[in-house]
Amino acid sequence: MNHKIVYLVLTFIGTISFSSCEKEIKIDIPASKQELVVEASINQLSINFNYVILSTTLDYFNPSLSLNAVRGAEVYITEGDVIGTDTLFDVANRVQFIDYVDTIFPGIYLSPDFRGVAGKPYQLEVFLKDGRSITGKTFIPEPKSIDSLNFWFEPNNIDTNVFFYMNWMDGPEQDNYRLTLKKGFLPILTGWGTGTRFYTLDDSQINNQPRPFFNFSPYKYNDTLHIYLATIGRKEFLFWDSFRGAANNGGPFATPVSVKSNVSGAIGSFTGYGLTQRSVIFRKE
């Protein structure tokens, strides 16, 4: 009987080693309709997150892995006021964003004069040379303070794994969150894409209680971690939540995900962030 068992085991191993393969294939996808893309970000804390990026879509197999930038557009952001149930935008408060770094990074529009204010509404207007335009509205919610941040080292594994959790108070408002983590010694982010981990947190069900966050992926002893906790509006949350699904789409049972844009005339988002930043070094006192 023993030889039968050995045979079965060997066959099993052989079977597993055979399984699941892949190969490159050629796919013919017809040309697509080009669309505008906008990524507009404002906040009340740091000028590094105040920018508007304009680009277009590319055919899927287009031989380019760069941002297909849109140059020479007129970009304005206007701070508004909420009076009763009305939101008013005065052209006097209009600030132009200009592509200062066009020669190095085309498509990025910045304004050193712009400062976001928590609680204020904002309007985005983009006018392209070809007559197309993009508009959008957002507001900057009040930022949250991180009430506690704890970390610990995995037992008997002091040189390797560190974990942390933190919480903040979630009020009665519809405060959704976007959380970005950045590991490294530099305390600044030059654009949200510089982060190393991204989370969107829904606030549709949780109110008036501490909001916990636990990170399952480990850090190392002595790592520096910068935490950017941003409060965002509902429509902005819906965009970033759908973006998370769209950007991580793949695998055998993936279904097409379309982002839920909160701007008109383009794919993308105009997001106001009520931003809190905190840094921590994972080190024993």
Partner: protein
């Protein structure tokens, strides 16, 4: 839509009674069984030898036949058994016990029966296929594991969801539109191993029946098909043990009489040992991870007397996945799911003219998920529980009429999700409100042999679905999806939604001559339960959701027309069927919908229509040394949703223009038997991105390089076709030892003999060197040999 049910039923019953009149014939009733083990035989033919009148045994092996008083002989036949001539003189005509002797292998090779089965030509049934448990076990299989759900996809009109899926698609319907019954208990999730295998242990399966159209009135609840899996009853003559050792699992079955000839038991278990076999090869950092499944079938069968039989059957199965993080030993993930069913059935023969079965069925599908980490943990529970009672009566008032009527009541409890746990000092308790529902059905049908050539089966099924309280209905804003804070409370038993519906059924058969007929059928069905899934396969995390105020019942009409012809003394069955099937209130989910733990799941749904039509050709040789079938389907299946694909119709994911399958079995000699399978199917329709854009921009402060991710953009739904699916398999069964008391055999299979790379999925990766995106196709099973050892003593 809601008509006066009682009035209609009474009118129909009156019509049937008046129509039936009183005949002069005598009635003979009884059971047909296997002479060696006492197992009843389903679908055995009983005929009056002096005429063409006949009937077949029902799913309990029972028959009732009306014959003229001067009848002297009956003939009973069944595939794989020697036909038997029954001399009626001196016999008691009530509770006749017909024991058929199985053909042994030598006889099987040589005998060509003169009196072949011609049920497929003469009955009003169409779009129906049966397969025995023995046949299932002989087919070529992956990992040496015979599988019911893989086998039925070799039949025309039934399409596989793919190699890693037990989901099947019948005439354009989704996998949730098939009613899967195991001894009358609904199986909500029929898969093990994330869809690679089904929950049906081949040792415990007596046979299966698939009804894909012309659905009789005693079935309902799903739009597309019925898969009836009948489990064996157990040997009531001798104690027997059987089992098998395969590459990934082993099976063991024990059966025997509790009281010889009167009662029996069967217990059958199966467990995978992937976890045990793989353990020595798993690296240390992954030690502690395991996956396994097991299932257990139990059946008790009691003959209480001439008129009563009692069956108790149960199933319990679980899949367990344990995961320990290699980077953090404190992180532990435990996922489990499974079905539990229990069925109590009571057969009662009131008279040779009236047979009844009453069943009480409990079934539960549950998912449990425990997640622990250093600072706390979560526990998630979800599932569905049904309590069901049903009674079915078969009444034969006249030689030309067989009337079936009955009722069915189910109480459903849906538990979409309960989450409890803690992070640090913060505790979290959330739950999606439970839902409760009553589902009722009342039906009546008449099988009417109008004359020698024309027969029909007409019936009506009245169904109703009632979603009831207690329930707290949260209101949500349509634009933002946010709760408005308003709720509506429903008290216990209070109706939230009520859907009464009528389902007329009609099957016609015109016998052109003794070997050919034309059949037509019309079926209208409603479905009140819907599977919440965004993928084409069925997963353990998928939820069943009931019809509600917003979610209307799905509905389908199916028209089918077929030509049936038997050749060479019924050795060969051939058929050609066309069908046309419009479907209403079909459900899809918005792209990117979040289905897990979503209080507002209804808001993620979109509703539309479906249409399927096609032609199915089938040639089958049921017996002899060389047997098998060839099936071909040409079909088209589309969906149309106002909110998807800009409102334009699109191909359903499993639309398959051409689908072709061959199964050939050949008994080489006394020791060796072989099977060959070939399948071909047009590639699945899928949605691929047509453009992309860069987003979430940043500039690396150290290198100055831009950072972003590419996001895919989609336009037309399912406008791309994956490459065609085709493969050939062979299997050989070697009977290594056969004595009166002991039998052992080996089954050797080679799956995908010409190593076809069939698409599982496609993914894309940016290639820095060529500065473009490349497409890759993943395929699962290349050529795969497997072996299984089976024994019986």
């Amino acid at each position: 839509m809601f008509l006066n049910f009682p009035k209609i039923i009474v009118s129909l019953a009156s019509f049937l009674i008046v129509n039936s009149l009183f005949g002069q014939n005598i009635f003979i009733s009884g059971y047909v069984k296997d002479s060696t083990n006492g197992e009843t035989l389903i679908g055995a033919t009983i005929k009056n030898k002096e005429s063409t009148a006949g009937t077949v045994t029902n799913s309990y092996g029972y028959f009732s036949l009306s014959v003229p008083p001067n009848t002297t002989q009956l003939v009973c036949s069944y595939v794989g058994y020697q036909s038997k001539i029954i001399q009626l003189k001196g016999l008691k005509l009530f509770n006749l016990q017909v024991a058929l002797i199985p053909e042994n292998r030598e006889v099987k090779e040589l005998i060509i029966k003169s009196d072949r089965l011609d049920k497929n030509v003469k009955s009003t049934e169409m779009s129906r296929i049966e397969l025995s448990g023995e046949k299932l076990k002989s087919l070529p299989v992956v990992f040496g594991e015979p599988d019911v759900l893989k086998a039925i996809t070799l039949m025309p009109g039934i399409k596989s969801g793919g190699e890693a899926s037990t989901g099947f698609y019948v005439r354009g319907g989704g996998p949730d539109q098939n009613l899967i019954l195991m001894d009358e208990a609904v199986v909500y999730n029929p898969s093990h191993l994330f869809g690679f295998l089904s929950v049906f242990n081949s040792d415990a399966v007596k046979g299966i029946e698939v009804i894909k159209g012309g659905m009789p009135a005693n079935y309902g609840g799903r739009l597309s098909s019925i898969l009836n899996v009948n489990m064996r009853e157990g040997n009531n003559q001798n104690f027997k043990y059987s089992g098998g050792i395969g590459l990934i699992s082993s099976r063991l079955t024990a059966e025997g009489p509790l009281q010889k000839g009167k009662s029996s038991f069967l217990i059958s278990g199966r467990r995978t040992y992937i976890d045990v076999l793989a353990r020595p090869f798993i690296p240390n950092d992954l030690a502690g991870n395991s996956y396994y499944f097991y299932d257990l079938n139990l059946k008790l069968n009691f003959i209480l007397g001439e008129k009563d039989r009692l069956f108790v059957s149960g199933y319990f199965g679980r899949d367990i996945l344990d995961f320990k993080s290699p980077t953090n030993r404190a992180v532990n993930f435990n996922l489990g799911w499974g079905n539990s069913t229990a069925t109590l059935r009571w057969n009662h023969v009131f008279s040779p003219k009236l047979f009844s079965n009453t069943s009480i069925v409990f079934n539960r599908y549950e998912l449990f998920n425990d997640f622990k980490f250093g600072a706390g943990g979560f526990s998630v529970r979800s599932g569905l529980v049904d309590w069901n009672i049903k009674s079915d009566f078969t009444w034969s008032p006249h030689a030309k009429h067989q009337i079936k009527y009955g009722f069915n009541y189910t109480f459903h409890t849906f538990t979409p999700g309960i989450l409890s746990g803690s992070v640090g000092t913060t505790s979290i308790n959330e739950k999606i409100n439970k839902q409760y529902a009553n589902e009722y059905a009342l039906y009546i049908s008449d099988e009417w042999g109008v004359n020698q050539r024309f027969s029909l089966n007409y019936g009506l099924r009245a169904v109703a679905f009632q979603l009831i309280g207690p329930y707290t209905q949260n209101e949500f804003d349509n634009d933002t999806g946010l709760p408005t804070g308003k709720t509506k409370e429903y008290s216990t038993g209070q109706t939230i939604a009520f859907y009464p519906r009528l389902e007329p059924r009609l099957n016609l058969n015109y016998l052109i001559n003794e070997v050919s007929s034309i059949k037509a059928s019309y079926t209208q069905t409603y479905q009140f339960l819907h599977l919440a899934t965004t993928s084409g396969a069925q997963f353990p995390l998928d939820l069943w959701v009931p019809s509600s105020r917003l979610i209307k019942p799905q509905m389908a009409r199916q028209y089918a027309l077929g030509y049936f012809r038997n050749l060479k003394q019924n050795q060969y069955e051939t058929s050609a069927e066309i069908y046309y099937k419009p479907m209403l209130n079909q459900i899809e989910f918005r792209p990117g919908a979040n289905l897990f733990f979503n209080q507002n799941l209804e808001n993620e749904m979109v509703f539309g229509e479906g249409l399927s039509y096609g032609l199915e050709l089938f040639l089958r040789k049921k017996e002899g040394k060389f047997n098998g079938w060839i099936g071909y389907t040409w079909s088209r299946t589309t969906r149309q949703f106002d909110e998807l694909n800009n409102g334009k119709p699109y191909f359903y994911r499993y639309d398959r223009t051409h689908d072709f399958s061959i199964l050939l079995s050949y008994q080489i000699n006394k020791k060796w038997a072989s099977n060959f399978v070939f399948v071909y199917g047009t590639g699945n329709a899928t949605t691929l991105p047509d453009s992309r854009y860069a987003y979430r921009f940043g500039i690396d402060p150290q290198t100055g390089e831009p950072l972003f991710v590419f996001v895919d953009r989609y336009s037309d739904v399912n406008s791309y076709r994956l490459p065609a699916y085709h493969r050939a398999d062979v299997s050989f069964t070697y009977l290594s030892k056969q004595t009166k008391k002991y039998e052992s055999s080996w089954n050797f299979s080679i799956y995908n003999i010409y190593n076809r790379a069939n698409p599982y999925f496609i993914y894309f990766l940016p290639d820095i060197e060529s500065q473009t995106v490349k497409a890759y196709m993943v395929y699962l099973f290349p050529i795969l040999p497997s072996v299984q050892w089976n024994f019986k003593f």
